[in-house]
Symmetry: C2
Subunit: 214 residues, 2 copies
Amino acid sequence: MKNVEFPDPTIERLCCYRRILSALLAAGHARVYSHELAAAQRVTPAQVRRDVMLIGYSGSPVKGYDIAGLLDRIGEILDPPGGVGVVLVGVGYLGRALLAYFAGRKSPIPVVAAFDVAPETSGQLIHGCHCYHIDELSSFLSRRSILVGIVAVPAEAAQKTARELIDGGVRALLNFAPVQLDVPQNVYVENVDIAVSLEKTAFFAQSMSLEKED
Amino acid sequence: MKNVEFPDPTIERLCCYRRILSALLAAGHARVYSHELAAAQRVTPAQVRRDVMLIGYSGSPVKGYDIAGLLDRIGEILDPPGGVGVVLVGVGYLGRALLAYFAGRKSPIPVVAAFDVAPETSGQLIHGCHCYHIDELSSFLSRRSILVGIVAVPAEAAQKTARELIDGGVRALLNFAPVQLDVPQNVYVENVDIAVSLEKTAFFAQSMSLEKED
DNA sequence: ACTATACTGTGATTGTCTTCACAGCGTGAA
DNA sequence: TTCACGCTGTGAAGACAATCACAGTATAGT
Ligand SMILES: NC(=O)c1ccc[n+]([C@@H]2O[C@H](COP(=O)([O-])OP(=O)(O)OC[C@H]3O[C@@H](n4cnc5c(N)ncnc54)[C@H](O)[C@@H]3O)[C@@H](O)[C@H]2O)c1
Ligand SMILES: NC(=O)c1ccc[n+]([C@@H]2O[C@H](COP(=O)([O-])OP(=O)(O)OC[C@H]3O[C@@H](n4cnc5c(N)ncnc54)[C@H](O)[C@@H]3O)[C@@H](O)[C@H]2O)c1
């Protein structure tokens, strides 16, 4: 109920902490210090402690944080009770890569169905995910409780796709199309703009090469 | 030489402005107001004006900004003189999607070559991009001036790949692997972590649905 | 030529996130 | 039992980015 008050950057870091903590736990460790967790990311120990404080967990001044306990607490914050359903729209190159990724490993957030206009994808099972024609989207959404939609269609179709997902009850979108989606205020949009990321990288490549060597 | 002093968020927005300005120009417009440019992104008009101010461009108080002129100025900032070379390492699902994307449309930043361990990809032309065996990477880099590397290999191979790229002279990496790369200070790393993005989206889907309707 | 208008340019302000710095404390050693 | 150590928890300070608010100004209309 008070989830809304976690700052966006903290949520992002919590996801990363979880990944590292899981790896540590799997490697047989039981406890971590803030500076160890900080070193694995590119953050300061103080930042880690503040994040942990924010989610209401605490460690021992001498032994650090209990990995399993912290992991549970992060899960309580991040994981919705009952899980979120996720659907993918657009089974092109990117959509297939996403299906391979989220179906391949036992993902905490599995994609339950995919949709596309192309008739030949309908009825297929791609990387373990059932694909349907886009016309079946709204009836699918009305039958299942789906909170997240992934938009991996061409830019021209993105707004229309967003509309359909939101009308079907989706509350958040992960958008890969290079357009700003127009959505109601109660819908969250996370944009992943790979072209912008590459341009930014290219820019900094240039400025790094102008700087003094270290 | 003074490029290094542009804040990261501004660079990101400049990429977005450019995309919109290009579209406007193509649509036959000659000038824009800050509020129009702002509406296309999700930023305030003041933000747009400040960004424009920062890059040393100015518009007319009545007619707004000249689209072509602003576009040129942004290009001067973002585009390296002579262009940056970009190589891709890891021609799996994601790597192929990237090649399709950056080869398909006439991208401002084309990928000049791709590398993979799998012998069957060597010598292939995928979406217009030549693919080579990873063993050829260092000799390729020594022959061409390449400033940017895209890391699309499995997490386990990411650090090794980063090392090879940096040793070959690359100054910035676009990293899709879910690991924090350890690089020298004069190398820039842009992480695109799709799994984290999805988890974040799922989290906000949950908190949005708890909020009051609008 | 003059005026009304609506936009730009920017100093000042606000807000947000990060970092500092240290008090408090649990633990292990003597 | 006592002490010293090194980590956590956190108020305060700092850094940075976004926004406000308004003075300055170029244009179109009269
Ligand atoms: N491939 C990449 O690496 C990459 C990188 C950055 C951004 N993107 C963006 O991601 C999106 C998808 O990219 P892609 O490379 O997979 O493109 P793609 O052309 O390979 O795939 C698009 C898919 O969407 C389907 N589609 C089209 N209109 C539809 C509609 N109205 N409803 C449902 N499905 C529809 C098509 O049939 C196709 O299968 C694009 O917006 C692209 O700009 C892709
Ligand atoms: N596919 C996605 O949607 C997605 C999403 C998020 C993150 N990622 C990350 O992106 C990376 C690639 O994902 P993918 O789905 O394309 O995986 P993939 O297994 O399909 O492709 C990996 C490719 O890398 C090649 N490779 C392995 N070791 C190599 C090495 N040492 N040098 C050069 N090439 C090597 C393999 O031959 C393979 O072609 C992974 O780190 C993955 O975690 C992928």
